[in-house]
């Protein structure tokens, strides 16, 4: 079965410092992996996705993630945090079985950005 584990439930950074949100995945096949962001009272928004092309994936708002098969990781990074980055971030793997296009979400990491 496919699953993702987000290693930190809360991350706090200062504005202008790097962001690292960690995610490990478990999959019996070559996975499709995603990062979604959820701002308060807003819908989930896709940040970036990995679908077996380049292992370094660039997304919106300066975020990127690197797929590392040997470490079964898909960590999300950003060189310099902005106040507007404060939100909940979800690492997601596409599941198999049942319906196609099924998304399996991690528990989420809440990112706080301090001035």
């Amino acid at each position: 079965a496919q699953s993702v584990t987000q290693l930190d439930s809360h991350v706090s950074v200062s504005e202008g410092t790097p962001v690292l949100l960690r995610c490990n995945y478990s999959s019996s096949y070559s996975p499709s992996l995603f990062w979604y962001v959820q701002h308060p009272n807003k819908g989930l928004q896709l940040l970036l996705k990995y679908t077996s092309a380049a292992t370094l994936v660039k997304g919106i708002n300066g975020f990127e993630a690197e797929f590392k098969k040997s470490e079964t990781s898909f960590h999300l990074t950003k060189p310099s945090a902005h106040m507007s980055d404060a939100a909940e971030y979800f690492c997601v793997v596409r599941g198999l079985g049942g319906g196609y296009n099924k998304l399996i979400f991690g528990a989420g990491t809440r990112l706080a950005v301090h001035p």
């Binding site: 499709s32 807003k42 819908g43 989930l44 596409r94 196609y100 296009n101 979400f105 528990a107």
Partner: protein, 118 residues
């Protein structure tokens, strides 16, 4: 382009009452999903439709939850009777039909309905 619309945005009911949520997907999206997001957890898929047919409802508690998409466009999700543990945000998402042999296409999410069961 208009996004996924959901209503109501908030609902408070007492346990054992009934409640219904409505979702209107992005125009032209054949696939519609309902997710349940309990506080502190990631969303969990409840049911997936393709047009007006159910593709996956393996995690839908069928003794109390039901969903329909009669004309293949908008959808309703109903809970009857509600329990305290049903308190959550109910998210609707939609996507185009799969565009590759892995059955993939981006899902677009609505703002959700926050349900509180007292």
């Amino acid at each position: 382009e208009a996004g996924v619309a959901q209503s109501p945005r908030y609902k408070i009911i007492e346990k054992r009452q009934s409640v219904a949520f409505w979702c209107n997907p992005i125009s032209g999206h054949a696939t519609l999903y309902w997710y349940q997001q309990i506080l502190g957890q990631g969303p969990k898929l409840l049911i997936q439709f393709q047009n007006n047919g159910v593709v996956d409802d393996s995690q839908l508690p069928k003794d109390r939850f039901s969903a329909e998409r009669l004309k293949g466009v908008d959808s309703t999700l109903k809970i009857q009777p509600a329990k305290l543990e049903d308190s959550a945000v109910y998210l609707c998402a939609s996507s185009l039909l799969p565009n590759n042999n892995r059955g993939e296409n981006e899902q677009f999410f609505g703002p959700g309905t926050r349900l509180t069961v007292l």
